[in-house]
Structure formats: C-alpha cells, structure tokens
C-alpha cells in the first residue's frame, strides 16, 4: 500500500551513484539471482494442476502463509517511500504499520477469512461472483487486473531508477534482467514460486536492513539520544509523537486531523486493502486449513507491527545524524543535494561496509522483484479464473487453464515491462496509480463486507454499490484536480496535503458505497438463502476451535496482537 511513492523522475535526474559495490557485494547479489531461478525451476515439478499453480495446492503452513502475506505487502518501494515520508512527517508515518494495518488484519483473520476459505473461491472477484453474480465479479476482476499490471510495471521502473541512483546501473539492464528472472520463476512454479521467494525476501529484508537501527541507535546513544539530536537539528518541530499533534490539521506536518487518520486511513483504506486486495489475501487463502490461514494472517500482523524498526527508525535516524538536510524532489538539481527519497539508501551507505552493503542492496532488489512476482501471479489467477474462464472459454479442462496461467504470466511480465517504459516517459502515471488504488479498493471492501455480514444484500445492490463507489471516488479526485479549493469540502482544510486528501476521499467513498448498497438492497430481491450457504454470516458453519489447546486458538493470538497494538500507540503517543 503506497502513499508516498518516490518522485522517481527526480531521482533519475540526480547525480552520480551513492554507493560503490565491491566484489563481495556483487557476489551476494549474483547468488540471490542464481537461487531464485534455481528455486523456480525446482518447484516446476510441483505445479502441475491449476490448483497447484494458482493456489500452491492450498497446502501452505501458517508460518509460510503468514510470512508471504506480509512480504507481498512489504515491498522495497514502500520501504523507501515510507522512510522518505518519515524524514518529512516524522513518526506519524508509523500509522501506516499500526493503525492502518493491525485492526484490518484482525478483522480479516477473525471475520472474513472463514468466508473466503470455506467457499473455496480462487480469488476475491471469485467470491463476488458467488455472492452477487457475474456483474460484480467482472467489474472487480477487470479493475484489479489493470491495477495489478500497472503496479507491477511501476515496481520494475522504480527498482531500475533506484539501482541507477544508488549503484549507477543501466536502467534497461535492471528492468530486463529482473523482469525476465521473475517471469521465469513464476511461469515455472506459479504461486508456489512467488510464495517461496517472498519468504526469502522477508528474511533478506530483515537481515539486510536491521543493521541500520542497531548501528544508528548505538551512534545516537539510544532512542532518547536520537530524539534529542532531532530536536537540535529541527527546533520547534515534533517528529516523534503519533497522536499528540492530531487534534488539528494545522498542528502536524501531514496536515491531517485524527478523524481523517482513523476513519480514512485506519478504516476505509486499510480495511479495503488488507481484506480485499487479492495480492495479499491470495497468500493466506493458499494455507492448508482455516486455522493455518487465520494464524498465518496473525503471524503477518505481528511482523507488520515490527516493520517500523527497519523503515520508520531509519527515517528518524536520518533526521538525527545526517550532516546535511535532505530536500524535496523539486530541488534535486541543486548541486550536492540529496532528496527525501534517498533517506534509506543513505543510511545503508552510512553504516554498511563491504558484504553488508551487498546484503542491503540484495534485500532491496528482492523486495522489488517479489513485488513484481506477487502482482504477476495475482494477475494470472484473476485473468484465468475471473475473466478468461467465465467470459471467454467456459468449458476447457484443467490442463488448458494451467497452460493459460503460464502464458498469461509471461504476458503479464511483458506488459509490465511495457508499463515500466511508459512510466519512464510519463512519470505522472505513478501519481494516477495511487489514486486508482483508492478508486477500486475502498468500494470493493464495502461491497465484500456487506455481502459477508448481511444476507439481505442483493446482487443488484452489490453491482451498483461497487460501480457507484468507483465512479464517486473518481469524481471526487477530478473535482479536486480541477478545483483545488474543493479540498476544504473533501478534506476539511484548503491546505490538506495529498496524503490527507487520499484518506478523506477514501472515507467519503466508503460512505457512499455503503449507502447506495443498502438503498438498492431495500428495493431489489435477494438471493434465496440456500444459494448463500458458505458465503454469509449466519448461513456459514464455521468450524469450532474450542477443542484446541488455548495457545493454538487464533482468537487468543488475535487478542495478544490487539493488546500489543494498543500498548505501542500509548508508548509513542
């Protein structure tokens, strides 16, 4: 989930590379490529049916499902973007990992997963088809497919730019080598390959990036030392409190009131993303049973809560220890200037000697590549099962759909490369991609959750609520684009920043989506209850876990996660 994508064109215009790699660093990077290719080719023999290729046979353990669930979200673009945003806005960005993740993850695990898992759907659009019919499925499948391929291309382009800036690598080399590597291993092993590489990426990211907070907090003399140095470098500004400055939009650097943060980011956007974005949900749907799926989600939640250590803390350390101030992207042409987006690479270069630097760079590359792999494998599943099979060729055998899955993986990679080149020439596409995300994902959440929780919701209401939500979100965005003063209505402040505008637009979109769905429901006919078995609360027998030992019950671990979330917010109030 990205709200602070680096202004990549400005990075492209930057000067010479930040880092110089030694042979040991290059060996570490090369070894990663050899392993992922070898892994993909090895897993080829375990992906011989549609279920194996698209859903990894639904045999993943809780740990693997959980780590790949969180890795699918933890991309390098997000890491670098949020470290940059931390340099600008301070610890407020930590809400991306706590408020905007944990409540939604808990809701997914305890409330929504039983319905996704029990109905054995292949995808979120697949659930919409079972619940509401083809109309809702088609709208969500097409929008998801477009968004996924666009994000895959943006991922590739972002990686190429960042490798050029920090290492001086040729952009075309980075795009083609990484894309073809991803293409080969996902074509070979499908979701299994993507999941295995995400687990690998997870380990590499922690191994590579944990050096920064450890070394940095040693250098500053601990957390209080870091806070003291920040206040010396930036007197009068508060970078280290998460809630204290949210009483008024004017009091915090992000320009957002707590209502926007809670209802916009914390509910509308985060619930929309974590519960309906098929890229992440697919990973836990591949678990071997419902308990593993729920536990995997919660395992992911615990690790998500720890991610600020390697993303937010480096951004804060950059405020404390860098001998120069980073500048906005608009000032990138000033001689010797480094932009906010270079915060994470600068901290890597600051603390990492030969070997460790290679590991850190490999972690970033792994993050980008697994982001692309995740998007491409999700695209292949949605295209094959939610567009090709229902709309183009309904009656074919499993081998045919498997073959389609492999070929459209290749197609997805080629289209992603094309998108990467398109973005290279039209960098504003990245801004539009972020807006697209909110257009589609927020109404999807309202439609799915109403479908799951209220058996009265009708098929017509599901379709019209979804479509109206998407169109309303587009309209609000266009209104602000053509008349910036509209921000005072949309975001309650004419000075609201982009991030604040996104969160308030998400909030209004969810409200409209829910209202339209409810109103249309009252005037249309619902499906008979026998057609809703396994899809709706009250008509779905959820297996009891009361006979399990207490430490194996998902609800117990969910409570622990919830308590930890509350404690962290109090500590960093």
């Amino acid at each position: 989930m990205i709200f602070h994508t680096p202004a990549l064109y400005s990075l492209y215009m930057a000067g010479s590379s930040l880092m110089a790699l030694r042979p040991v660093d290059l060996a570490i990077i090369a070894l990663y490529f050899v392993l992922v290719l070898g892994l993909g080719l090895y897993l080829r023999k375990f992906a011989n049916t549609g279920e194996e290729f698209f859903m990894a046979g639904r045999e993943m353990t809780a740990w693997i499902a959980g780590l790949s669930f969180i890795s699918a979200n933890l991309g390098s673009l997000e890491m670098m973007g949020y470290a940059a945003a931390t340099y600008q806005y301070g610890i407020l960005i930590g809400h991306a990992y706590w408020l905007a993740a944990i409540p939604a993850i808990l809701f997914l695990s305890l409330v929504m997963l039983p319905f996704y898992y029990i109905c054995k759907t292949h995808s979120v659009p697949g659930y919409l088809q079972l619940r509401y019919g083809e109309g809702a499925r088609s709208v969500s499948a097409v929008s998801f497919a477009v968004m996924t391929i666009l994000m895959s291309g943006i991922n590739m382009y972002s990686m190429a730019i960042i490798m050029k800036v920090i290492l001086g690598w040729n952009i075309h080399f980075s795009i083609w080598v990484s894309s073809l590597t991803v293409g080969i291993y996902v074509m070979a092993g499908g979701l299994l390959s993507a999941i295995f590489n995400e687990v690998l990426q997870f380990m590499l990211i922690w191994a590579g990036c944990l050096v920064i907070p450890i070394a940095g907090l040693i250098e500053t003399g601990g957390w209080s030392g870091m806070v003291h140095r920040i206040s010396q470098n930036f007197p009068g500004q508060d970078f280290t409190h998460m809630w204290r400055t949210m009483g008024s939009a004017a009091n915090n650097p992000m320009g957002v009131h707590w209502t926007g943060m809670v209802f916009g980011w914390g509910i509308a956007i985060s619930f929309g993303y974590w519960t309906t974005d098929f890229l992440v949900v697919q990973r836990v749907m591949a678990a071997k049973d419902l308990r593993s799926a729920q536990m995997g989600t919660l395992i992911g939640g615990f690790f998500k809560m720890l991610v600020p250590l390697i993303v937010i803390v480096p951004g804060l350390l950059a405020l404390a220890v860098l001998p120069f101030k980073l500048v906005p992207e608009s000032m990138v042409n000033v001689a010797g200037a480094h932009t906010y987006n270079e915060a994470l690479p600068l901290m890597l270069a600051r603390y990492c000697g030969p070997g460790l630097l290679g590991l850190g760079v490999t972690a970033l590359i792994a993050g980008f590549m697994s982001g692309m792999a995740g998007n491409v494998s999700a695209f292949a599943t949605v295209w094959t099962y939610d567009i090709y099979k229902p709309l183009i060729r309904k009656t074919a055998n499993d081998a045919h759909y498997l073959s389609m899955g492999r070929w459209c993986t290749l197609l997805g990679v080629i289209v992603s490369i094309g998108t990467a080149y398109l973005v290279m020439n039209f960098s504003s596409i990245i801004v539009y991609a972020q807006a697209l995300f909110v257009f589609f994902i927020v109404p999807m959440f309202g439609t799915v959750v109403l479908g799951m929780m209220w058996k009265r919701t009708t098929p017509a209401a599901g379709f019209w609520g979804l479509l109206t939500g998407i169109l309303f979100s587009c309209s609000l965005w266009l209104w602000v684009k053509f008349d910036p003063s509209a921000l005072r209505y949309v975001a309650f402040s004419p000075h609201a920043k982009d991030m604040a505008e996104n969160v308030y637009r998400a909030m209004w979109t969810l409200i409209v989506n829910v209202v339209v769905t409810v109103v249309v429901t009252l005037f249309t006919t619902p499906k008979p209850e026998k057609e809703l078995a396994g899809l709706v609360y009250g008509l779905t027998p959820v297996p009891s876990m009361g006979d399990l030992p207490i430490f194996k019950r998902p609800v117990v671990w969910a409570a622990a996660l919830g308590v930890a979330f509350v404690i962290l917010n109090i500590i960093f109030w």
């Binding site: 030694r22 040991v24 060996a27 570490i28 070894l31 990663y32 392993l35 892994l39 090895y42 897993l43 375990f46 049916t49 279920e51 194996e52 046979g57 045999e59 693997i64 295995f196 687990v199 690998l200 380990m203 590499l204 191994a207 050096v211 450890i214 070394a215 040693i218 250098e219 270069a349 600051r350 603390y351 990492c352 000697g353 030969p354 070997g355 460790l356 290679g358 590991l359």
Partner: protein
C-alpha cells in the same frame, strides 16, 4: 496435490544465509586487517564480523533442522 518430497523453503533459506554469513564474515575480517580508512561510520563495532557470524550460525541451524531426511 502432494508436496511430499519437496525440500522445505527453510532449507534454501538456511543455505543462503550460511553462504552469505561466510562471505560477510570474510569481508569483515579483511576490512579489519586492512589499514585503509573505512568508508562508513562506526568501523570499531566490526558489524560485518558479528553479522557474518550470526547469519552463518542461523543458516547452519536452518540447514540442519530442515535438511532432507531419508524416508524409511
């Protein structure tokens, strides 16, 4: 579908961490023994050595724990 006979992902993770740990440890020892000025801060912490040892040990644990077992 059966994943029987498939090597655990943790075995591959272990192999990678073991090799990485060794490479980083060797690089750290070379850096320590060379007299050149380090191009990074806190060279006295010898982070490469500690990190290399840690990754190597962790890698070995995963390799041993998740190694392919002979089926009876």
């Amino acid at each position: 579908m059966s994943l029987k006979g498939m090597l655990s992902i943790w075995f591959f993770v272990g192999c990678l961490l073991t090799i990485y740990g060794l490479l980083i440890l060797i690089a750290g020892i070379q850096d320590y023994s060379s007299q050149q000025t380090a191009g990074y801060v806190l060279p006295g912490l010898h982070l490469q050595v500690w990190w290399g040892v840690g990754l190597f040990i962790m890698g070995c644990v995963y390799v041993v724990r998740f190694r392919p077992r002979r089926t009876k």
